[in-house]
């Protein structure tokens, strides 16, 4: 449910216009959009961490996390072309139309984590779903303790949003740690997997919440390190991705154990994830 109690576009998508397309890293583009009907745009209220179902006409519909901060950003999606529908989306240009249903899902805690230290740990395009929370938290810098971003990818050119991270770094006390898997020319920062940065960052433990998002292998390694550092399972938050068809808890494709990622998630604590009894 959205924070504002606004009504989601449930079944029939609303038409939206792509206003701008931005090339991010290889195979990833950001699509800024606005609704064709301004009334729909005005009632489209999103909570950080929610997702939408995006229709590319003639190709299909896919679930996609929302990287924009509900407070300050224009609505946009950052999407890697990886299948039929996302490839069709990548073919679209400014002025083209798409369909949008949503927003769906529970969203990230925000009020609940005020006053705490916040650690973001991301791998590759796992930074996309965390972006809205990062922007939101940085905007309310005074309400939080230490804020850390620990981010890695296979190669330097696969690091998302580097231009934005440079902006974020201007926020006082925003600590960043970057790594890539292997050394490469022009890279003078750390080398190694993301989880190896947890210990050197001497992450806070007390009154701390960690947001983790990335591929399953990275996720498990990071969880292990955070646990070793002393973070409790309920202080680790992640957002899960699953094959989704309806977004509203009916088609059941996103079921993990007894939970449906679309309506119960996509945001879960690690404590919850552990009890699902199924691979994530």
């Amino acid at each position: 449910m959205s924070e504002t109690g606004s009504k989601a576009i449930v079944t029939v998508p609303a038409v939206a216009v792509i206003d701008e397309v931005r090339d991010e890293i290889e195979d990833v583009k950001t699509f800024y959009f606005s609704f064709e009907d301004p009334a729909v745009g005005a009632s489209f209220r999103v909570r950080s961490g929610q997702f939408i179902m995006c229709t590319v006409f003639g190709a299909g519909e896919f679930a996609v996390s929302l990287p924009f901060s509900p407070e300050s950003d224009r609505p946009h999606l950052s999407v890697r072309q990886v299948g039929k529908v996302t490839r069709a989306l990548h073919d679209l240009r400014p002025g083209d139309k798409i369909g949008v249903r949503g927003p769906f899902g529970n969203g990230f805690p925000f009020e609940e984590i005020k006053g705490k230290n916040v650690i973001y740990v991301a791998g590759g395009i796992g930074l996309i779903p965390l972006r809205s929370s990062i922007v939101h938290v940085l905007q309310h810098r005074k309400d939080f303790g230490r804020i850390l971003l620990i981010y890695g990818s296979k190669t330097a050119k696969e690091l998302m949003y580097r231009y934005m991270i440079d902006e974020w770094k201007k926020t006082e006390g925003f600590e960043t740690y970057f790594t890539i898997d292997n050394p490469e020319p022009g890279w003078d920062d750390r080398v190694g997997f993301v989880h190896t940065l947890i210990a050197p960052a001497s992450v806070p433990v007390k009154d701390t919440v960690a947001f983790v998002c990335g591929p399953p292998l990275m996720f498990n390694a990071v969880i292990g390190e955070l646990g070793k550092a002393g973070l409790k399972d309920e202080a680790i938050v992640s957002t899960l991705e699953r094959h989704m068809k309806c977004g509203i808890g009916k088609c059941q494709h996103c079921a993990i154990g007894r939970t449906l990622v679309c309506t119960d998630g996509p945001v879960y604590t690690y404590r919850q994830i552990k009890t699902l009894g199924e691979q994530i």
């Binding site: 449910m1 449930v10 079944t11 029939v12 998508p13 609303a14 038409v15 216009v17 064709e36 229709t55 006409f57 003639g58 190709a59 299909g60 519909e61 896919f62 990886v82 299948g83 039929k84 529908v85 996302t86 002025g95 083209d96 139309k97 369909g99 399953p216 991705e241 699953r242 094959h243 068809k245 309806c246 509203i248 808890g249 009916k250 088609c251 059941q252 494709h253 996103c254 079921a255 993990i256 154990g257 007894r258 309506t263 009894g277 199924e278 691979q279 994530i280």
Partner: protein
């Protein structure tokens, strides 16, 4: 309660056919198979024939259904999205109690959760339901074990019980009462009205005496599926037996997983179709980019039984998802219909109990 002479069933179905698209159990002319289908001629509906091969869920939740049309002209950028037109009102005649319970499971799941499935709602509203008490059990049934029969207790507009030569008619709604009045049915004398309970009792006794492999002692399976304490070997065995054909899901009155696909139709037009899916299929949870968290068959095959019997899923249906119709028993080529799975869970977990 009222009385409907059996010869007058046609008056009832005829009256419904005037206002509704009429569905009921009919004998297929060629195959002889009993199917639940749309009927043009109300007199084809036969309430004495066995439980249909297919459940009535296809009436409210078609196997494949166009739900939306799109048009997009890339040159002019004109886009239009149109949901499909409303479905016609439908009358379902001769529903067995298990199938009616299956329909109620679908209602609670599709309409009673956080979101309403608007496509399902369109089919479901303005519906007239006539249930039919099973005065004797069929070979594969076990509704007595799943608390869903042999007689309906809720969800019908009219309920018929065969007491030999005539039906006892129980009304379950204002719509039902109106039809009973319209047909001018005589009230049943108390002695006859009492025959419904007797018929139910006799049917249960018959099941108890006849049923062998199809008795499903579900309690332990419910507990084990809910808590997850089922030895991995049980799922391995079930995975080995599973042909991944999806037939169990398709004939199940309460299985409602669906897939959604868009297809281009030329000249900028496209449509969205939703169609039945099954959690036994390998591609069920596969994502773009080929990550498949449910690749192994034993990681998929247990999901259906979790849906049918676990407490967390039953909370959504307000009863176990299995309604004891026994169709999965009939169609499964791997002999892992629900009663056999319940037995496998029961036996395997019994082994773990220390005996002195």
């Amino acid at each position: 309660m009222h009385i409907l002479p059996k010869a007058d069933l046609r008056r009832l179905t005829g009256a419904l056919a005037e206002r509704y698209a009429l569905y009921g159990p009919v004998c297929h002319e060629v195959s002889g198979e009993v199917i639940f289908d749309l009927v043009d001629d109300p007199s084809r509906i036969d309430l004495d024939i066995p439980i249909p091969y297919n459940p009535p869920k296809g009436v409210v939740f078609p196997q494949a259904e166009r739900i939306m049309s799109f048009s997009y002209d890339r040159a002019s950028k004109a886009a239009a999205i149109e949901p499909e037109a409303l479905a016609a009102p439908k009358a379902l005649v001769g529903l067995r109690s298990c199938d009616l319970n299956g329909l109620l499971c679908l209602d609670r799941f599709m309409l009673g959760q956080e979101y309403v499935d608007e496509v399902f709602l369109e089919h479901r509203k303005k519906m007239f339901i006539v249930s039919n008490t099973c005065v004797h059990p069929f070979p594969q049934c076990f509704c007595v074990c799943t608390d869903s029969g042999p007689a309906a207790v809720e969800g019908f507009d009219l309920d018929l019980t065969d007491i030999g030569g005539e039906y006892l008619v129980l009304t379950g709604s204002a719509k039902g009462e109106e039809l009973v009045r319209g047909l001018g049915l005589a009230a049943a004398p108390a002695a006859k009205a009492a025959l419904r309970a007797k018929a139910v009792e006799a049917s249960v006794a018959l099941f108890d005496a006849q049923a062998k492999d199809n008795k499903a002692w579900i309690s332990r399976a419910v507990n084990r599926l809910t808590t997850g304490f089922i030895p991995h070997e049980v799922w391995e065995y079930i995975g080995d037996q599973c042909f991944e054909c999806g037939a169990c899901a398709f004939v199940c009155p309460s299985c409602s997983c669906f897939n959604i696909e868009d297809a281009a139709e030329g000249e900028g037009r496209s449509c969205r179709t939703r169609a039945w899916d099954s959690c036994s299929f390998e591609g069920y949870a596969r994502m773009a980019g080929d990550h498949n968290p449910r690749k192994a068959v034993e990681d998929r095959r247990n999901k259906r039984f979790f849906c049918k019997l676990s407490f967390s899923q039953s909370r959504k249906y307000l009863r176990p998802g299995c309604v004891g119709c026994g169709r999965c028993v009939r169609v499964c080529p791997g002999d892992i219909g629900l009663p056999n799975v319940v037995t496998a869970i029961r036996r395997e977990s019994t082994k773990q109990v220390p005996h002195e």
